[in-house]
């Protein structure tokens, strides 16, 4: 397991704390980990120290499939410079409702699809790219080949 220092260094610029560290350690292994309560089964993101539903501290970062449906979609015409981001496209940002639980959502971009195909309601699956030496979870349209 990477040290806390190494983790903070790989994800420099992202605020990581004791509650979210496991999620980012998961990214290093290209596994998307979302907190699930071991007592009541509720999924919640972003990571909280206890289950907001039953107050159990027995919350476990649990791998999700990353399959889901686009719930929110915007297209950035400008923004802060970032590796692999071209605002001329413009750059899509989507919030995906994950299949694991109603209302459980994860936000990232969609790769490998033209903007006009990225629409609320489209099915997506998880994929990974790289930014600054750290794996970045992204989505692909589910019916896209490859």
């Amino acid at each position: 397991m990477v040290t806390d220092e190494a983790l903070a260094s790989v994800f420099a610029g992202t605020p990581i704390d004791h509650d979210s560290a496991a999620h980012y350690r998961g990214r290093l292994e290209r596994r998307l980990l979302i907190n699930r309560c071991e007592d009541c089964g509720a999924w919640r993101h972003p990571p909280r120290p206890v289950c907001p539903g039953c107050w159990s501290a027995n919350v476990r970062p649990t791998e999700v499939s990353g399959a889901g449906t686009i719930h929110l979609a915007i297209f950035l015409h400008q923004g802060p410079p970032a590796e692999g981001v071209d605002y001329a496209t413009p750059y899509p940002v989507v919030t995906v409702e994950l299949d694991e639980s109603p209302g459980l959502r994860f936000t990232s971009t969609v790769v490998g699809a033209p903007d006009e195909a990225i629409r609320i309601g489209r099915r997506v699956r998880l994929d990974w790219t790289q930014r600054g030496g750290a794996p970045l979870p992204v989505f692909r349209l589910a019916d896209e080949a490859g």
Binding site: F11, A12, G13, T14, P15, R44, H45, P46, P52, H71, L72, A73, I74, F75, L76, H77, Q78, G79, P80, A82, E83, V85, P90, Y91, V93, T95, G103, L104, R105, F106, T107, S108, T109, I120, G121, R131, L136, V138
Partner: protein, 389 residues
């Protein structure tokens, strides 16, 4: 849990409000300088001196800095809650009602910073003011400023609303700002101008987003009794609500049907003696145009997704602005989109001036009540009912 309990009702007053006016470019002044100007003005307007102040409630400029800047000899209470400005009003009113302070100086400094305008980076004295949200983490987020854009997209998707509906809000604000000397943007705006404006984050363009400005607003908040002895007509704080639900992250909030605004509306209605039928002037927040449509729907002026049609039915063609039932203007000072992005302090200041009869060419004749809904959806939905004392 929503409660109608409101022992503070009409017991605390805003005795005065002052502004520096807003400038849509980088001035050569600090936030403390702008705040000091507005604070000195309002203290004088209320017939007070520094020694009369014993509470300070501000935003970015720390209370300790403000006290030192103005030479306020002694304070018994101070706070710096986070914006929007309903937080400052609520905290100051509660402190006065509870007896923690008797005369509170409240202030906010809208200021051009790297998070709201990239040109602020050109001024080295503005770089340390506030970190850019999510800087370094990449743009794959709907936290912060992108949140309203994301839910605006969902609004278009769910209701088949049109981009023009957002445009009505921008045009209304611009038409109103023409009559406000404090406003940053006064050039008349057409729907063609709006539809042709530079896209920033689809579906929202430059004219859907508030104007970054330099400026300050300041207020004196005290007991209704004390305010009656001051030179200006008191404006009573009838009720204040800072509403929030548990899923308050931008991408996890349940949906357009359930977020902080719904809590604000239910609680504010329960705590107040009047609602939309009894309001003389309406201040829905407009930091993003879409937020105004959402407040209009959620306070019950129309149903979900119907704000565009409601505005069309309540459009004053002669003045090129919204006039609800031919009577109630909406953000008559020009709001965040045209007076300038004040995170709510401009809305509160204009409401106070309207209820004091000091709004000049914008004055709503005989205005006695104002409904204000500062802020957005997630962790910043707020409500205030104010009435003439």
């Amino acid at each position: 849990m929503i409660s109608a309990r409101n022992p503070m009702k009409d017991k605390v007053a805003i005795a005065g409000a002052a502004t520096t006016g807003f400038t849509p470019h980088n001035t050569t002044r600090s936030q403390a300088s702008l705040a000091a100007e507005a604070c000195i003005q309002v203290i004088r307007d209320c017939g007070l001196t520094a020694a009369d102040i014993n509470g300070i409630c501000g935003s970015a400029v720390p209370a300790a800095v403000m006290q030192a800047t103005l030479g306020v000899p002694e304070m018994t209470w101070f706070a710096n809650p986070s914006i929007p400005f309903g937080s400052q009003v609520a905290a100051a009113a509660a402190a006065v009602h509870a007896g923690l302070a008797d005369v509170v100086l409240a202030y906010h400094t809208p200021y051009r910073l790297p998070w709201n305008t990239a040109s602020a980076l050109k001024d080295p004295f503005r770089r340390g003011g506030m970190a850019t949200p999510g800087a370094g983490a990449g743009p794959e987020t709907v936290a912060g400023v992108a949140g309203y854009t994301a839910w605006a997209a969902r609004y278009l998707h769910e209701y088949g609303a049109k981009k023009e509906h957002f445009g009505y809000v921008a045009i209304n604000d611009r038409s109103n700002a023409a009559r406000n000397p404090a406003a940053a943007m006064k050039t008349p705006l057409t729907m063609d101008d709006y539809l042709g404006a530079r896209m920033i984050r689809w579906p929202l363009c430059l004219l859907d987003m508030d104007v970054p400005v330099d400026g300050a607003d300041a207020f004196i908040i005290t007991t209704a009794e004390r305010a009656r002895d001051m030179p200006l007509p008191p404006v009573l704080i009838q009720a204040a609500v800072l509403g929030m639900i548990d899923r308050n992250e931008e991408d996890q909030t349940p949906g357009l049907h359930r977020h902080g605004q719904h809590v604000v509306v239910e609680a504010l209605k329960a705590k107040s003696d009047f609602w939309t039928d009894g309001m003389d002037v309406f201040f829905p927040y407009d930091g993003f145009s879409f937020i105004t449509l959402s407040w209009m729907e959620n306070v019950g002026l129309c149903g979900p997704g119907e704000a565009g049609g409601f505005i069309e039915a309540n459009w004053d063609k002669a003045a090129n602005r919204i006039l609800i039932d031919g009577r109630v203007p909406v953000n008559p000072h020009g709001g965040a989109l045209s007076e300038g992005g004040s995170q709510g302090s401009g809305h509160v200041r204009e409401a106070v001036h309207q209820l004091q009869g000091l709004a000049g060419p914008r004055q709503v004749a005989g205005a006695r009540t104002a409904l204000l809904t500062p802020g957005g959806f997630f962790f910043n939905a707020q409500g205030l009912t104010l009435r003439k004392g």
